[in-house]
Symmetry: C2
Subunit: 598 residues, 2 copies
């Protein structure tokens, strides 16, 4: 067997920040070199960030990415790092554009390159393009049709990109034909609840199929609604887990692997890829000779997080990166005394530190005494910046001119509060966070331009049930060493806030249960209708109460009209009302009939 | 030659309204039968409406569409219309689902069916799926691989669907092999400025390629941001225009065609489609015998609209259908005395009638005397409903608690106005229209949750230059018989409003030109940067002032962050900041560097 120390650089780039990402690549290559690695790999599209969406169709951006790649290759050599082979993802395009109706302008490629001694040794591009869920890659990329196989210290290393692992046939199948000793997959695979288990099984299956060990490096970081969790892994040819990086933090995963040495005569040329296409093996040599034997390091495998820890980690990282990558240093939110804004404040404090979290207490004539004291207790425990602004005078000024009733009067108060948030945001430059949860947003229990106003909604993909679960979980973490938690010395969320009955406090003695079903029956139904796209008949067959099914379908379908204007927030499920659930706004097909005005 | 009277039903369905659309199909089939037609064709996806977006992935919706098709076929026969062959678009799916990672769940089809004597005679599906611009069809459809050719009164009629015309190879190429006498294309082709000319040339080219006459039937109507303009056409085998329906109205286009009779032995079976695929010709017979000779009717060709008429027609139809199809009967907007809200009010009055347009005059301490009197004059000329609500007391109430300066203080006023609009909208059920134009929106000269609040933005895709052009054009139409205009007896927009210098009136003596470049230089630059995606170097090479290029790129890139929450409005250009310009929100690549907080 041949030895190889490989380094997987699980890093956090920013979309469009070509210079900053290039700096990151040089810095982490240096770390890998200092750790004695023989090969370092960066994630898919690391040099541009991912996903670039329609930026891929701008020729000025594609050219900037090409220049950045050539530049960083030269810089690595200039800084004495040229001998360490580097694999990285970047944005490229076909040299000869496939100009045809229906193909993306300029034929962009989701590309990978091997860099060595100041040069670009070999380039390739993603073969299988995902075009479902959050992905729209047929829109912006054309397909790659080569498999690079590079001999490093006598081991043939094949490289593929993300979706190439998820679909049958294509580069993984050709890897087996190429008789590679290691399959290196570079990825930008967004987090979803429990997806880490799916990924690990996939890697094991593909390793067995390719007949060699598999190293999987993933992005980490937040990008709009997406959160990349890292969780880079290495598995053996038998599918057994060898090494694993932690989730939600940058990490250099190092592993000493024993790999089969390459046969002297490499396989090259076109191969039937078993998916209706042909892929050419592009074989290159960096070093023929295997390494002299050395003492391997022990492998590291980060312990997996339990479910609430994993979700909470995704929310903290998604919030932190949305704030920081958009150039903000501080956030502002309304603290009502209820559980939703309490959890958002806590996530924000974990994400950017309590000293940069500004909360507003905006009592009205309907606010209970407890709301203010509970909110003040949370502020004290967490050390947040707070300010009280009573809204009564503003409500009175509107009511002097307008005679509003019912929902219109309730919404007025929510919008006055939003106007105060936005005024102070404009004055001081804080990003406004919103506190809506998925149960409320799905059923329309929210005010457009009121409580839904703001730039980012940290808990928009949590059911109310999960809001309670995570609040209790967070309180139980005092003393924990999880890297994404602020070291509060006491429970950050007062128990009174967790146990009180939910209320919007927009009219006397209002309670959520006056308007909504109880959350223990509502939330499972929302999951089935919204996330699983089950129709009326299927919902009833699954055991949901038929009358409740009618009522909830009606609420959810009507809320769609408003929901399109909601701000982004971290995704933790396949469907969180974001851009991955694209439905017409004007639409009379509902599970119910007939349509009524929203 | 064989004669055939064909009817193209240019109708306006609503997405998801399966029952209403089926009624429309029966009603217009009756009209065609009464006019003696031998074949009637409805547009692409007419039974479901178009585009259905992710509804195609819901199995309950696909099954409802299949039931609706079978039901309407039976109903046509029951109502005595079964002998007239009907071609219509609908949503179907492959009988055997192609369950594979990366393919849409359930294998939905953008389908066409021939209905005859209560039965579904033959089904097919769109072969070329558009996946660019406003289209995402790889996400939701799988491809069809048959070409139906149906013999009607001795003429072989081939049917294809929309994009099948726009791409080379595929069904049009097979139509020639099939030796068809008529190519019938059913379409849902959205309006863009000047696209009608492109479509007519395309139809002429494809007719010559197929070697037969071509009948092209298009949807008409608004659907969210899209406007379908109709403009159905029939061209001869030589590409010459024979008949043309008007734009922006429903129309039954009838034409008596002289077509080559079919050879007795039809071409059937698989054919190389010259696009890397194989298409099977699916030949059916309704009637073998050609018709006895009859006196043909003269052909009708609607005169083309000039450019401002066409754009204005698109805005009126888009606005009317957004209001009506979402179940609203009335609209509400703020009337500032400026040109933008004046044009929006006029479009609204043309769209739904002045009696259902409610305007609010909301003067502040910075409003000029002229603003109120000009707005009142417009209200009087158009017969709108109006109400004056001074906002001074509300501004004072906020300022008593908050000390806001500069932009924060300006935005406060805009948001107080939006709160009044939304309060009255919630109280009375009016849809709020917004008045932002494309020049303002692109440069961020607009307040989030302020003047940008509302459900629909009729002029969001018009540059300020076009706002002036259309206002003058509309005033010149007094006495016109264009079907999409209200018969005002005097110029609907007072001249004072058109000639006054643009101002937001949010601080003393404010003028747009204090903040923005003059519109005659700004607008052409916006068109090049936003619509044509030209980069910095290309903009300068095109003759734009380099300093202005820097400034405008910076404004536009920063405004992106806010713009994602804007409401829809009719699209009249390829890029209007809607969903067809998908860029990451968090994104440090700008034509300029470095990034600054939005």
């Amino acid at each position: 067997m041949a030895q190889l120390r490989i380094a997987l650089a699980q890093v956090n780039p920013t979309v469009g920040d070509l210079e900053g990402n290039a700096d990151l690549l040089v810095e982490w290559t240096r770390r890998a070199a200092e750790a004695g690695a023989h090969l370092v790999a960066f994630p898919e599209m690391m040099l541009t960030g991912y996903p670039v969406e329609d930026l891929a169709l701008r020729s000025s951006f594609v050219e900037a990415s090409q220049r950045a790649l050539a530049g960083v290759a030269r810089r690595l050599a200039e800084e004495g790092l040229g001998d360490l082979p580097v694999v990285t993802g970047y944005l490229d395009r076909r040299p000869v554009s496939l100009a045809r109706q229906g193909l993306p302008a300029g034929s962009p490629l989701d590309a990978a390159a091997w860099l060595h001694r100041g040069e670009i040794l070999v380039r390739s591009a993603k073969h299988h393009l995902p075009n479902y869920g959050v992905f729209d890659e047929y829109r912006i990329f054309v397909r790659g049709d080569t498999l690079p196989v590079v001999r490093v210290h006598g081991v043939d290393v094949a490289t593929v990109i993300c979706e190439d692992l998820w679909q049958d046939g294509g580069p993984v199948s050709v890897t087996s034909t190429a008789d590679a000793g290691l399959l290196l997959a570079i990825n930008a695979s967004p987090y979803e609840r429990n997806k880490d288990d799916v990924r690990l099984r996939l890697c094991a299956d593909r390793a067995r199929e390719a007949g060699c060990a598999l190293a999987y490096v993933n992005l980490v970081g937040g990008q709009d609604e997406l959160v990349f969790d890292g969780d880079s892994v290495i598995v053996g040819a038998d599918g057994a887990l060898l090494a694993r990086a932690p989730q939600f933090v940058e990490h250099l995963l190092l592993a000493d692997l024993d790999l089969p040495p390459a046969s002297l005569e490499p396989v090259t040329g076109p191969v039937n890829a078993l998916d209706g296409t042909t892929i050419s093996i592009d074989h290159r040599v960096v070093t023929e000779e295997t390494l002299p034997a050395y003492e391997p390091r022990p492998h590291y495998a980060a312990p997996p997080l339990d479910d609430p820890a994993e979700v909470y980690g995704a929310l903290v990282l998604g919030t932190r990166d949305y704030v920081r990558k958009n150039g903000f240093r501080s956030v502002l939110l309304g603290l009502s005394g209820g559980i939703d804004s309490a959890l958002v404040a806590t996530i924000a404090a974990d994400a950017i530190g309590p000293e940069d979290v500004h909360v507003l207490l905006l009592p009205s004539r309907y606010s209970t005494e407890g709301s203010i004291t509970d909110a003040e207790e949370l502020v004290k425990r967490q050390g947040l910046n707070s300010r009280i602004v009573p809204i009564r005078g503003m409500v009175d000024a509107f009511e002097a001119e307008l005679d509003l009733h019912g929902l219109a009067a309730e919404n007025l108060q929510a919008r006055i509060r939003a106007n105060i948030w936005m005024g102070l945001s404009n004055e001081f430059g804080h990003l406004v966070l919103t506190g809506g949860n998925k149960s409320e947003l799905a059923t329309g229990y929210s005010t457009l331009y009121g409580d839904s106003a703001g730039g980012f909604g940290p808990i928009k993909d949590l059911t109310k049930t999960m809001v309670w679960t995570l609040s209790r979980w967070r309180n139980a973490q005092v003393g924990s060493d999880l890297p994404f938690l602020h070291p509060f010395e006491e429970e950050p969320i007062p128990e009174e806030i967790i146990v009180k009955e939910p209320s919007a406090e927009l009219r006397p003695d209002q309670r959520d249960r006056d308007t909504l079903p109880s959350y223990d029956v509502l939330d499972p139904l929302l999951v089935d209708y919204v996330e699983r796209d089950m129709g009326r008949a299927a919902l009833v067959a699954a055991g949901h109460d038929p009358a409740l099914v009618e009522r909830v379908i009606r609420l959810v379908d009507l809320a769609e009209y408003k929901r399109r204007q909601y701000p982004p927030g971290p995704k933790i499920t396949p469907k969180n009302f974001g851009r991955d659930r694209r439905l017409p706004i004007t639409n009379r097909w509902r599970e119910r009939t007939p349509h009524e005005p929203a």
